[in-house]
């Protein structure tokens, strides 16, 4: 296997990402941010960056457990809240989603997990309206590319500082900004059901797939070149197919064009238009 170095300069990344959060929140006339803090490393990093960018008094961290959530998730989220000094609220989503599950029996664990992820999204956006803040996203580049996310659930956000960092790079930055080791080093999990692990579901580790994604996406290697670089053919094929199949999760809904000027195609403005 060729040496593939995903090291980033963490001072530079931190400077750009805190500048991004500060500018994008304040340019729309706001000063606050809201985010879910799950106890995992992704949301921990978002929380640290937001606290640094906006001041901890302007960040509301939400702990949103379900009755089966791991107690470690709540504990680790509290570690982040205590260390950053951000505002926080804990809202149990069990009374929101259990009636839903009761009304629609026979849901499998994935559907139930998606409902939980979307109940959390509803809560973030409600709280963002309550405090007049923007929702900060937490998804990393690895899971965005792999489509390992609930559409309109954990993928929903106004701005996302983490989205161009592979998971292994995100861990590097998390360590540098001071996220506790126990959070950086723990096994990644969406914690939507007992015993769920991200790498178990995906079938490979982030260490492995990040290097492959880096060659495929950042370096524009062909599948053949990735195999020549030392990756197994089956692994390369599976990852390429996964990236293609879940591209819809990265896109806004398709609009059917009828007129001469249509949103998405030829009505082209940045979101930051006029600010």
């Amino acid at each position: 296997m060729a040496e593939i170095d995903l090291t980033i300069n963490t001072d530079l990344a931190r400077r750009i990402l805190t500048g991004f959060i500060r500018r994008e929140v304040t340019r729309v006339g706001l000063k606050k941010a809201v985010l879910g803090v799950s106890g995992g490393v992704d949301s921990a990093l978002s929380c640290y960056l937001a606290a640094q960018a906006l001041g901890p008094e302007n960040v509301l961290a939400l702990r949103l457990p379900y009755k089966t959530s791991s107690p470690d998730s709540l504990t680790h989220a509290q570690l982040v809240i205590d260390a950053t000094g951000v505002q926080s609220k804990t809202i149990d989503i069990t009374p929101m989603v259990d009636p839903f599950f009761a009304a629609i029996p026979d849901m499998d664990k994935v559907r139930r997990g998606n409902v939980m992820a979307r109940a959390r999204m509803i809560t973030w956006y409600d709280q963002s309206a309550a405090v007049n803040g923007l929702v900060i996203g937490t998804s990393n580049k690895s899971e965005i590319l792999l489509g390992y996310t609930t559409l309109y659930g954990d993928s929903a956000a106004a701005i996302n500082p983490n989205g161009d960092l592979y998971k292994t790079q995100l861990r590097q930055l998390a360590r540098a900004v001071g996220v506790p080791k126990v959070i950086v080093d723990k096994t990644p999990s969406a914690d939507l059901w007992v015993g769920q692990t991200s790498e178990g579901e995906l079938g490979f580790t982030y260490e492995e797939v990040d290097k492959l994604l880096y060659l495929l996406v950042d370096r524009r290697y062909s599948a053949k070149e990735c195999v020549e670089a030392g990756f197994k053919q089956d692994f390369v094929d599976a990852v390429i197919e996964r990236v293609r199949r879940y591209h819809f999760k990265r896109m806004p809904p398709l609009i059917a064009k009828l007129s001469n000027r249509t949103v998405s195609y030829d009505f082209l403005y940045l979101r930051d238009w006029g600010t």
Partner: protein, 289 residues
């Protein structure tokens, strides 16, 4: 002779001319003692304009509401500003103007519009079609906009046309993070500008936007190099700043005595070989005029 430059790296409001003009006038007030203030590419409008292009046009003359106060300010200090120009046939150009003593001395229309990867300039702008050096009260100079100096030919032509100072202005989105302390895009721009200063034994001064447009960051990092390729000044990354650079124009005399590459440049040979290469169709370029 000394030339005092103020290299200004600003953030802008996307598509809001008035606010950006105010910021220019504020920096002009701050840059006391400067002979020339250099603002970045599209400094009056912001960069990723897309469908905003036709709505943020300015015409470089004294009747234009944006240029009128800038021309007034140029009575005290020379200015380079970036703007969206609309010509009489309603073509839109990514342009930069050199203003001095209340007059428009020169307007450069961006010749290379990047239309690949994250860039889509060719969709919204018309291609400029000339590369000329021009005379200022501080000597003959050249003015290029961002992608213009990612190509080697525009600086080369300006050199042969008599430019002793190259002003390079950009709105360069930061990209390419690694273990290095600077982004790959920043290192690239610094390398080539330092190389141009060395190769052409000329002064090169560069300024670049800061701030964010959606998820794009602009990295700032204004620089000035002397005809030996030595760094004279460097602005900070990722923050607004006014960086002063004193150019000792006598250095041209000293450097070119030591290293007479301009004197020895064989332009007729270049012309002959270039004509042959084009005739034989070997360039690999799409041959756009």
């Amino acid at each position: 002779m000394k030339l005092n430059l103020a290299l200004v790296q600003i953030d802008t409001r996307l598509g809001v001319l008035n606010t950006n003009l105010e910021k220019h006038l504020d920096y002009i007030q701050q840059a006391k003692g400067a002979d020339l203030i250099v603002f970045p590419e599209l400094s009056l409008t912001g960069y990723v304009l897309q469908d905003l292009v036709p709505t943020v046009v300015a015409r470089p003359n004294g009747d234009d509401p944006t240029f009128k106060p800038l021309l007034q300010a140029s009575k005290k200090v020379d200015l380079i500003v970036g703007f969206t120009e609309e010509d009489a046939r309603h073509r839109f150009f990514n342009s930069a103007a050199y203003l001095s003593k209340g007059e428009v001395v020169y307007v450069h229309r961006k010749v290379y519009l990047p239309t690949y990867g994250m860039f889509d300039e060719g969709r919204f702008w018309a291609w400029g079609d000339s590369i000329r050096a021009f005379d200022t009260r501080f000597g003959r100079v050249g003015l290029l906009i961002c992608e213009d100096f990612w190509h080697a030919s525009p600086p080369y032509l300006l050199w042969l046309d008599g430019a002793e100072i190259f002003y390079m202005i950009s709105a360069s989105p930061g990209r390419g993070i690694s273990g290095d302390t600077a982004l790959e895009s920043a290192r690239w721009v610094e390398h080539v500008n330092q190389a141009y200063a060395s190769l052409f034994t000329s002064f090169v001064a560069q300024t670049n936007r800061v701030g964010f447009e959606d998820g794009l960051n602009f990295w700032g990092g204004a620089t000035a190099y002397d005809p030996n390729g030595e760094e004279i000044a460097k602005g900070p990354y990722h923050e607004e700043a006014l960086t002063l650079a004193e150019l000792d124009l006598n250095e041209l005399h000293r450097t070119r005595t030591r290293l007479p590459v301009l004197r020895d440049e064989r332009t007729a040979l270049v012309e002959r070989e270039l004509a042959r290469i084009l005739r034989e169709g070997r360039t690999g370029s799409n041959g756009r005029d």
